[in-house]
Amino acid sequence: MSRWGRRRYYDDDWGYYRHFAPSRPREAKGGIKAQTKRGGFGQSWWAIRWIAVLESFDIGARLGRGRSYARSGQVTHLEVGEGTVTARVQGSRPKPYDVVIKVATLSAANWKKLAESLGKEALFAAKLLAGEMPENIEDAFKTAGLSLFPGKSKDLVTDCSCPDWSNPCKHIAAVYYLLGEEFDRDPFLIFKLRGMTREKLVALLGAKPPAPPKPGAASEPAPPAEPLPAEPGTFWGAGDAGEMTLGEVRIPPAAAALPRRLGNFPFWRGAEGFLDAMEGIYAAASPAGLAVLLGERKNEEAGA
């Protein structure tokens, strides 16, 4: 298995040297930067649990370096599939290392058992669908004789193409941390790692999923054409356009509520924090919108 292929460190002097005097990684442009600048990665209990698995390994300074890798954007690619995570991490060599994390998936029968257990309280499905991990979901797993997090060591296999002999290495740690942060945003990620997509889980919980939207195309079918009326009165708009209320218009006290509700952009790689940028834009646009609404707009834009 290539899984241990990285132990090629014997035919690589650098690896031995680096063990004693770790070098700086190459600068990676446009990598995924962790959004949490200090403190732990991930605030939710399940993210903390996930990180705890990593930190239970005694890998010394690698944890710290993994954290700074995650913060400085050394991870340039990260993809979560059912049961697998693949990532590319920029180390000191020109070619980035490939990291693979494999998580054992649950069998269909096990999922069914779990669904029965979850189905007893609407709260589980409700919270999950609203993007939150229910507090006592582990109890539901336990009732079904299962565990949300990979319990046995063979359930979690990590691999990196770097020359470090340790597993997990700092590259794996960096990916781990970023995943932890992403778990905060999307509780379904952990289910996905265990082999269950959102759609399948929802269906399993008894809620009939809607027809999946066609990718690319607008989700709604094209509305039927409406021919123009030829009657002059209707054509030119004889009827009163009708007054319309615009609802209570005030500038929201907290900017960018909608992006905030959706949470940080997954695996954001921009130099500027995503929500920070959104907040700036939304805060600037509100007064501009209000001015136009009140007809106070002068031709500032057109004159520019």
């Binding site: 442009k29 990598g31 669908l129 609203a130 002059p232 030119w236 708009g237 959706l262 031709n299």
Partner: protein
């Protein structure tokens, strides 16, 4: 003249216009020629406006037009056509064809111009709620529609209802901002789509063979998307200049180029591609760049687009859902009864029920039980394409559970349908949770007693005010200090501190008192008790009390203010102010000539009442009800009281002459003469000084002269120009006539008006001021400074809620606040009609412009030369010709010169007519305008149409009978043109025009019989309203002098002048010279 139209086509708002055929034919003969040659080609629209006309219209409106002509080109408009004749949007452009036959949509070639988003915003902001953009530039209904739609887009931006996105476009990608239509916004979107006039989507591609048929819903979505994108983008790029990497170019604007069919990539130097570290950086950059274009690895961009969609999914699922989760609070059948402090617990808990509410029909509610069980009618109701009711219900409940812990607790069962709560919980739900849930987009249904505004019973403060004793009758003012006793009440019941304590001990926030739920909040009770202990009584000025009573403050120390009671004179003042008590009659000044009608006497008393308390009053009676007379009565009263004029015996000594101070009256130039004339007639003892013209006095001389008069009349333009001189006079009052002139508080006039000190201020206006919320602040700030708070406060508390949401609570509060200071009576009010004669005749004295005056002088000079030595028929001819010329000069220089020159700003009469008609049209009146000159009729028609953007009918001798009948029919019909111009000869007899309730005689026939006959067109059987007859005269000219002569010998007038104007030729040369001579007062500026 041009009627502007805007249509959405190919991703742009496209401007085009219609002009009457004369103009179109004169300017674009080439099109018609081509039409003859190429029979198969699409004909050019005969009423299409030229691009130059559109450019000029935009420039006049202050919209920047790019020199680049790429944005302009021919387009195809599919317009209703009968046979081969297109049907224009308005009779102002062309009369509808009389032909029979089927009406079909036919493509016509038009000159059009794609607007950039910034131009579109600019133009639409200017067009909002206006019939014309500038004289002669009319706003089509479609333009008004787009202006309304833009306001919606702006509201979405202000409320931050949009998200960043990335769209595939022309084979590339573009970062953009997309509006999110959730809840009520989805309804608004649907309403807009429904209201869209067809012309708004009637442009088609050049090679199209069928009429465009894009559904309105899609068109409006595209438009709103483009506007939201533009507004956010321009605000964002304004911020991000420092951040923007080099290479971002603003020269490449998509719309115009697309319009010009220039395929990308662009011409000219290649776009310097900024280097980005990641596609996320690029996206963020593009979201703030002028065009949003993203170039690069298409696969990577497509992947980003997919990620963005994925990121937005939780919201798009709930926004796209045809239902929304709704919470209904249900009260127990019987709850807690509080009787004299005792409580008895009855069964019952309150309930919150979970329901699914249809977005398109909020009355359609499906209980959660039914949705879980998928039973009953719920099955068919909830079955909608792509919608899973259960998943949606679950995810919504999940979201709501984060807002309200009780909801989370309720989800511990398999199929939750709601939960129970006690009174405390219900109160918390009513006051807090429901607001949060609503804000998060959930539906909330609360008991009617809670949501009905105004009837909510709650703990409130009441003040009772003791008036200090009057001292010697006079000297009372609102600066007086009064004592206020505070009390706490629940509804109508006063509570003692002990009762309050008892209520607090109940520890339940909702108590049913006599069958009605009352909200009692422990913290509020505590606050009330504290407040009471601290300031059971306090002293305030009477002015503060008045403000409080009028509703300027709705809470004191956080406790709602329920009302103020006062005894003595304070009580009288308060009751009189808010209309609970009659204002006592005030005797008419002795020197007043004539009688005040009953409603005028009331208005005069009201003015005197507010003036006495130093409160500003706005008299906003309908035109013709005599605002001038009521104001004059007040001026005269003050003048007499100050010891001038005729005074009752014994008062003379009490009022030393130095107490005499003048009133400054500011009015439009066009009515300066009218004020002087009206004062002469009704208050001849009132010394009036007109401060106007080049010869006006200045400095000390002005001050001295002003102090010798009771009334100084001046104009708005001088108010600003002469403000330094005006400030030197210790004015008794400042009065603004046609006060809508200061509706914009930022103008120099408004500032100047506010800067003048006086004992009282008054405003007169005939426009319905109370309807223009935006204009109220400026008016009130002049009348009663500070009463409506700062302009920013006003905007936040009143203007925005009323303007955007028609908030009835804010509107009601504003009405209560301003009501006491605005008196508006309509001539249709029952109580007024009884006081009015069926036919009211008024003379309107106008002023000549300087141009008119010099033309007038020239004509007189010529005439004097011609008269010398002329005899018999020749002399008669000279006299009549001179009369005619002078009348023409008084009408309009363009009529006299006959040179088809510009119309606006050259005639005092015309200016006054336009002002009066504007007032009349605004309140839905209709008017006849008579002139004896067909040329003048044409000038009037053109000017009035261009000013009001409405058709004006014009009947003259050359109009065939069939068309004449049609005009009469249209004028008499509902929604017909509001103005009918008639030449006296053509329209003097035989017509029945009872729809009119105003008759204007623009020039005079000097024959009362002829004029009366004309007036009777409106005043006939079938007339249900009172008719006002306005006879226009230029003051100081022969018009006024002849009028005086007729008035003097009214009895014999019929004999003398019966045959027309011939009698004037009998006058001697000297008499004629005097008749023609121009008095100095005639000239305006």
């Amino acid at each position: 003249m041009v009627v502007l139209h805007l249509a959405w086509f190919d991703g742009n708002l496209v401007l085009w216009g219609e002009s009457p055929r004369e103009a179109a034919a004169a300017q674009a003969p080439a099109h018609r020629g081509r039409k003859q040659v190429e029979k198969t080609a699409v004909a050019s629209y005969p009423f299409g406006a030229d691009p130059e006309v559109l450019d000029a219209a935009l420039r006049d409106a202050g919209v920047v037009v790019e020199a680049k002509r790429a944005a302009r080109r021919g387009a195809m408009a599919w317009l209703p056509t009968q046979g081969s004749v297109p049907i224009a949007s308005s009779p102002l452009v062309a009369e509808a064809p009389q032909a029979q036959g089927e009406i079909a949509l036919v493509p016509w070639r038009i000159e059009a111009m794609a607007l950039m988003p910034a131009q579109a915003v600019d133009l639409l902001c200017r067009c909002a709620e206006k019939p014309t953009l500038a004289p002669g530039v009319l706003v089509g209904r479609d333009v008004a529609f787009w202006a309304q739609a833009l306001r919606f887009a702006a509201a979405l931006v202000a409320r931050q209802q949009y998200l960043p996105a990335i769209e595939a476009r022309d084979g590339g990608h573009r970062a953009c901002w997309e509006p999110v239509f959730a809840g009520a916004d989805a309804e608004r979107l649907a309403a807009l789509a429904k209201a869209m006039p067809a012309v708004a989507r009637a442009l088609g591609a050049a090679d199209a063979t069928t009429a465009p048929a894009t559904p309105p819903a899609e068109v409006i979505r595209e438009f709103l998307g483009a506007m939201v994108d533009h507004l956010v983008r321009s605000a964002a790029s304004g911020r991000a200049t420092a951040w923007e990497p080099v290479g971002g170019t603003s020269a490449s604007r998509v719309p115009s180029e697309r319009w010009a069919e220039t395929p990308r990539p662009r011409r000219g130097r290649p776009r310097k591609k900024p280097a980005f570290d990641s596609v996320h950086d690029q996206w963020l950059h593009a979201l703030r760049s002028p065009d949003g274009l993203m170039e690069g690895d298409e696969a990577e961009l497509a992947q980003l687009a997919e990620q963005v969609r994925e990121w937005r999914r939780p919201l798009s699922v709930s926004v796209a859902a045809p239902f929304r989760l709704c919470f209904r609070l249900e009260e127990p059948e019987s709850g807690l009864e509080a009787e004299a402090g005792r409580t008895r617990k009855r069964s019952d808990a309150w309930h919150v029920r979970f329901l699914l509410q249809a977005v398109d029909d909020p009355s359609l509610l499906v209980p959660a039980e039914d949705a879980w069980a998928a039973r009953g009618s719920a099955v068919s109701v909830l079955r909608r394409a792509g919608y899973s009711a259960q998943e949606h219900l679950l995810s919504s409940l999940g979201q709501a559970s984060g807002i309200c812990p009780r909801i989370e607790a309720a989800l511990k069962t398999q199929r939750p349908s709601g939960y129970e709560l006690d009174a405390t919980g219900a109160h918390e739900f009513l006051t807090q949770r429901s607001l949060l849930l609503e804000q998060a987009g959930f539906g909330v249904l609360l008991p009617a007693w809670w949501t009905r505004t105004g009837t909510k019973l709650r703990l409130a403060l009441r003040a009772s005010v003791k008036s200090p004793k009057m001292q010697g009758g006079s000297g009372l003012s609102l600066d007086e200090v009064v004592h206020v006793n505070w009390e706490v009440a629940l509804g109508d019941e006063r509570l003692s501190p002990e009762e309050l304590d008892a209520l607090a001990r109940l520890k339940t926030p909702l108590v049913r008192v006599r069958g009605q739920w009352v909200q009692v909040n422990a913290a509020e009770i505590q606050a009330a008790l504290d407040f009471w202990r601290k300031k059971g009584t306090e002293t305030l000025t009477a002015r503060q009390v008045v403000q409080m009573a009028m509703g300027a403050t709705d809470a004191v120390s956080g406790i709602p203010l329920a009302g103020i009671e006062a005894d003595g004179w304070m009580g009288d003042v308060l009751r009189q102010l808010d209309g609970r008590a009659e204002i006592g009659e005030v005797p008419v000044p002795q020197g007043f000539v004539g009688t005040l009608r009953p409603y005028q006497a009331r208005g005069y008393a009201w003015l005197a009442f507010l003036r006495q308390w130093g409160l500003g009053a706005c008299l906003a009676d309908d035109m013709g009800l005599g605002k001038t007379i009521q104001a004059l009565a007040l001026f005269l009263r003050d003048w007499e009281a100050s010891g001038a004029g005729i005074l009752p015996a014994g008062r003379r000594d009490a009022c030393p002459t130095d107490r005499r101070r003048p009133v400054l009256l500011i009015c439009p130039t066009s009515v300066v003469s009218n004020w002087r004339k009206e004062a002469e007639r009704f208050a001849p003892s009132l010394p009036v000084m007109v401060h106007h013209g080049i010869e006006r006095k200045r400095g000390e001389e002005f001050v001295a002269e002003a102090r010798r008069h009771a009334l100084v009349v001046s104009s708005y333009s001088l108010l600003n120009r002469d403000i330094e001189h005006l400030k030197k006079v210790p004015w008794l009052g400042i009065v603004l006539d046609e006060a809508q002139n200061i509706k914009n508080p930022e103008t120099k006039q408004a500032r100047a008006a506010r800067s003048l000190a006086a004992d009282y201020r008054m405003a007169l206006t005939g426009t319905p001021v109370e309807n223009n919320v935006g204009d109220l602040w400026s008016l009130m700030e002049f009348l009663n400074p500070g009463f409506l708070g700062s302009q920013a406060d006003f905007k936040r508390e009143f203007f925005i809620p009323i303007q955007t949401n028609r908030d009835p609570e804010a509107a009601g509060r504003l009405r209560r606040l301003t009501g006491p200071f605005i008196l508006r009576r309509l001539k249709t009010d029952k109580s007024i009609i009884a006081d009015l004669p069926e036919k009211q005749e008024m003379k309107v004295f106008c002023t000549l412009t300087r141009e008119q005056a010099s033309l007038y002088a020239a004509v007189v000079k010529d005439a004097e030369g011609a008269l010398d030595g002329a005899e018999g028929i020749q002399r008669k001819g000279v006299v009549l010709a001179t009369l005619s010329k002078l009348k023409q000069v008084c009408n309009h220089p363009a009529q006299f010169l006959g040179d088809n020159s510009a119309i606006p700003g050259r005639s005092g009469k015309l200016a006054r007519l336009a002002e009066m008609l504007e007032e009349a049209i605004e309140v839905g009146d209709r008017a006849l305008v008579f002139t004896q000159f067909a040329e003048m009729g044409a000038i009037l028609k053109r000017h009035l149409e261009e000013t009001f953007g409405r058709e004006a009918l014009f009947l003259h001798g050359a109009v065939p009978k069939a068309q004449r009948d049609r005009m009469v029919e249209r004028f008499q019909a509902d929604g017909g043109p509001p103005v009918f111009i008639l030449s006296l000869k053509a329209g003097g007899t035989g017509l029945n025009l009872t729809r009119a309730n105003h008759v204007f005689h623009f020039d005079r026939w000097w024959n009362p019989a002829v004029e009366n006959q004309a007036t009777d067109r409106a005043f006939r059987i079938g007339q249900t309203r009172n008719v006002q007859v306005h006879k226009f005269l230029c003051a100081g000219t022969l018009e006024e002098k002849i009028d005086e002569m007729i008035e003097r010998k009214k009895e014999v007038a019929a004999e003398v002048v019966g045959t027309g104007e011939g009698w004037l030729t009998e006058l001697s040369n000297q008499q004629l010279k005097e008749l023609f001579a121009l008095r100095a007062e005639a000239i305006g500026e």
